[in-house]
Symmetry: C2
Subunit: 492 residues, 2 copies
């Protein structure tokens, strides 16, 4: 089974597309640019959702739901935001189909059912939400509003790829409103930190925290904080963003409150989101030529047990031992599957569960029953060991924790060896020819230079790292003065 997967070295992009489909994560649908998230992929997404939702609630947020559609006049109220998304909007113009009289059995748009005002399918929900917040906020007592929404959004991308860039995707979007600038800034940073915590500790993907340049900023924000991850092919992937919206949306939608002195002020806002794009980051951080590698925290099945048998009697004897083991796993909260199909050989099953990234595989045959042992294999290292049956469940529970840590450490090592400081544009270009990773370079702070570097190298500024050291230098492209390095990379 794994033999059919393209090798990463041969064609990374093809490997990715094949893996996503073959591991049953997602596939393209009959609708241009839209994907179907298959049950196995969706089960991983549900684990992400559950953990994020817990973290959002722990930080005081509640969920709510706002309309899918945004009337055009509402959409255009915040001009920068509208401009940023206008070129990729799906637009509803009619509300009825009718029988096509020329083509029996076919339908056509009913020209008499044209909407008075077009509706934009939300590419993001600031407009509809701030138009609602206007009615929810009168006094400082109504603040802060700390709301999150789990939803689908649509951005009409011309070139799409499963999870990484799809016309419709699933995400969560937090939208908060505050009485003071400082409180909104604190919220923006807090949520970036929540994302970093989640992506590093739950997904085992190391990230760099930073802020975006003005060019890369969210349309309508005063500042965009981000977490940036590095994929195995040396390209960066923006894993989450948290925007400080200033008073931009409050002004566009006239959202004011009476402060403690009774004076009217505009509200301060933030918004923040992560999406099914994280599924792409997951695949491209941990997986290998044999298929998916899942951190135990995200694995819908953490342990698979494959019986090795030549007769029904052997399978029966194995099953007795396995049932007892499964009960032990359940007590420990470990998710386990017993693959007792009689239609497939063990080798086929090994390859299938390898492809699907199950962190630990247990094989058990008649010899193991005799010796009171199990064969335990790690998906991440592909290593095997023979383990005594007694205490195996807690041994594997500890092993799962170890795998979670090891995956993060391995990805961190990789990332750390793929940040290259350069001091000339020749060096810059040379590093970008290979599996570059992040290129750390001085930049003169202008959008012009950023744009030119992008034209010449396809690399963009991924972020200005929050932990960068103060270091005077000269821009790698223009030679103008700079006060610190930024991270460039080609990116997804």
């Amino acid at each position: 089974m794994s033999k059919n997967l393209t090798k990463r070295e041969e064609d990374y992009s093809k490997w990715y597309n094949e893996l996503v489909v073959k591991a049953d994560l997602a596939e393209n649908s009959g609708v241009r640019g839209c994907m179907v998230i298959k049950p196995y992929g969706y089960a991983i997404w549900e684990k992400m959702q559950a953990e994020l939702d817990r973290m959002f609630k722990e930080t005081g947020h509640s969920n709510a739901y706002f309309p899918l559609f945004v009337p055009k006049s509402m959409f255009e109220a915040e001009e920068k935001n509208a401009e940023g998304f206008a070129k990729e909007c799906a637009i509803v113009t009619h509300y009825r189909l009718k029988n096509d009289e020329d083509k029996p059995g076919k339908l056509m748009v009913d020209p008499n059912a044209k909407l008075e005002e077009e509706l934009i399918v939300r590419p993001t929900s600031e407009a509809i939400i701030w138009s609602t917040y206007k009615n929810w906020v009168q006094s400082y007592r109504d603040l802060p509003l700390l709301i999150n929404q789990w939803a689908n959004v649509v951005r009409w991308e011309m070139r799409t790829r499963l999870f990484l860039r799809t016309a419709e995707f699933l995400w969560q979007e937090g939208h908060t409103a505050h009485a003071t600038k400082q409180e909104a800034l604190n919220e923006t940073v807090q949520m970036m930190n929540v994302y970093a915590d989640f992506v590093e500790n739950f997904m085992a993907i190391p990230v760099v925290k930073g802020v975006k340049t003005e060019t890369e900023r969210f349309a309508g924000a005063d500042e965009t904080y981000c977490i940036e991850a590095l994929m195995q092919d040396g390209k960066a992937l923006q894993a989450g963003t948290s925007h400080f919206l200033g008073q931009n949306f409050a002004k566009a939608f006239d959202v004011k409150f009476a402060n403690q002195e009774g004076k009217q002020e505009h509200v301060w806002g933030t918004s923040w989101g992560v999406s099914t794009r994280l599924m792409g980051a997951l695949v491209m951080t941990h997986s290998d030529d044999n298929g998916l590698v899942l951190p135990p925290n995200l694995a819908p099945i953490q342990v698979v047990i494959v019986p090795i048998f030549r007769s029904d009697e052997e399978l029966e004897n194995i099953s007795i031992v396995v049932k007892d083991l499964m009960a032990q796993f359940r007590k420990l909260g470990v998710t386990v599957k017993f693959d007792d199909r009689t239609t497939q050989k063990p080798g086929f099953k090994f390859a299938e569960w390898e492809l699907k990234g199950v962190p630990v595989r247990i094989a058990v045959g008649p010899k193991d029953l005799e010796n009171k042992t199990f064969e335990v294999a790690r998906r991440d290292t592909l290593s095997k060991e023979v383990v005594a049956a007694e205490g195996v469940a807690s041994h594997i529970q500890a092993l799962l924790e170890q795998i979670q840590k090891d995956l993060f450490e391995r990805a961190l090592d990789y990332r750390n060896t793929h940040v290259t400081e350069v001091n000339s544009f020749d060096e810059f270009k040379k590093v970008l020819e290979g599996k570059a990773g992040f290129v750390s370079a001085h930049w003169d702070g202008t959008a012009e230079t950023e744009e030119k570097i992008k034209e010449l190298t396809k690399a963009t500024i991924r972020c200005i790292p929050l932990d960068r050291k103060e270091e005077t230098g000269t821009c790698v492209f223009t030679g103008k003065p700079s006060t610190g390095r930024v991270l460039f990379a080609k990116a997804y």
Copy 2:
């Protein structure tokens, strides 16, 4: 606060609309027919989701996600389904906005960005899902497919009401595929039973299980099973439906499988769904003139504690006792809130939590501290008792269970006294003049009679109850022979 709520006897419909908004469940948005589900309302919906999701998984289903859009040609493939939904479809025709040159700062639909094929915003997902299943099913080994989706859908209703009928609503839709007719029928009935179990035992709303007449059947189904509830104003509400689709979608989308003998057969299908409409049923089954009444299973806050104090010192003394009590509640898994706001008087708080339907309220003042008691009030009966502090947490835990049962029993009593058997059309009409409830009558089985009765009385056949007794009789309208009674009602 409750004083501002219209009384049910005065204007039931107005009472409902006001309550939904004032109790912070939902409100109308700036988008025609679309609602905003507010955090408090959404928290109730989340409890419904969690329980249903658990029940679906327990019966072997997995979640997945399919596209929001359905290309027109795909939409029209199953003709009856297409015809059923064509008149209420939101249709995407363009994918880009551009600056309106005549109106600076305004946007317009870019006429150069017209889609080659229009996209229908899903009103239901059979078409897109069966077009996908075609690729997932080759052999009997691939069956059954047992998949559920949590999603938003859009039906362009002309007259909308919060939760009950909105252009966009949230729901779950199960879509299953089976090798045999019997298996699909079993699934259809199983899911109706899951819904009945959920609505009765979790939402405390009694339902009648039945099948729809052909007229009321889901467009594209061979049979629609349903659960019907009765609201306080005597109108019925369809609370959930489960459809046996026969081979209709399999034929429309050419979904075949090789059976055990290697012969090609069409797959058998089901679909089933419940929606945010259930929120409307919840409100209209239990609530009263003081506001919302929530069954403890669905209450985001099950117990609210209101301190009665005249000084900071008194509040402080109360807080010490309350903190201990809250810890006890948390251990028992009871959700509790301490309303220690100093900006509002106890009377205001009482009214607010009454409006929001919190099942149990505890009041505690200096006298209670002295006597080691609490005042415990039930929201459903508005009754109060003084309870000894010792053991109060487990007392209230038991009380919550009692309230859950009592709410169901009360609703069941109401429902049972609102099913009237009639044997003439005069009786039929007379009963329907008041708060009718269900009218149980003989019907000749024709769509013509059904239609005429609807024209004359606005009552429709809600269902043919599964447990109806065999009883020969004559149609209440035509006098033609009938083999059993059906339930008529005016309905939401």
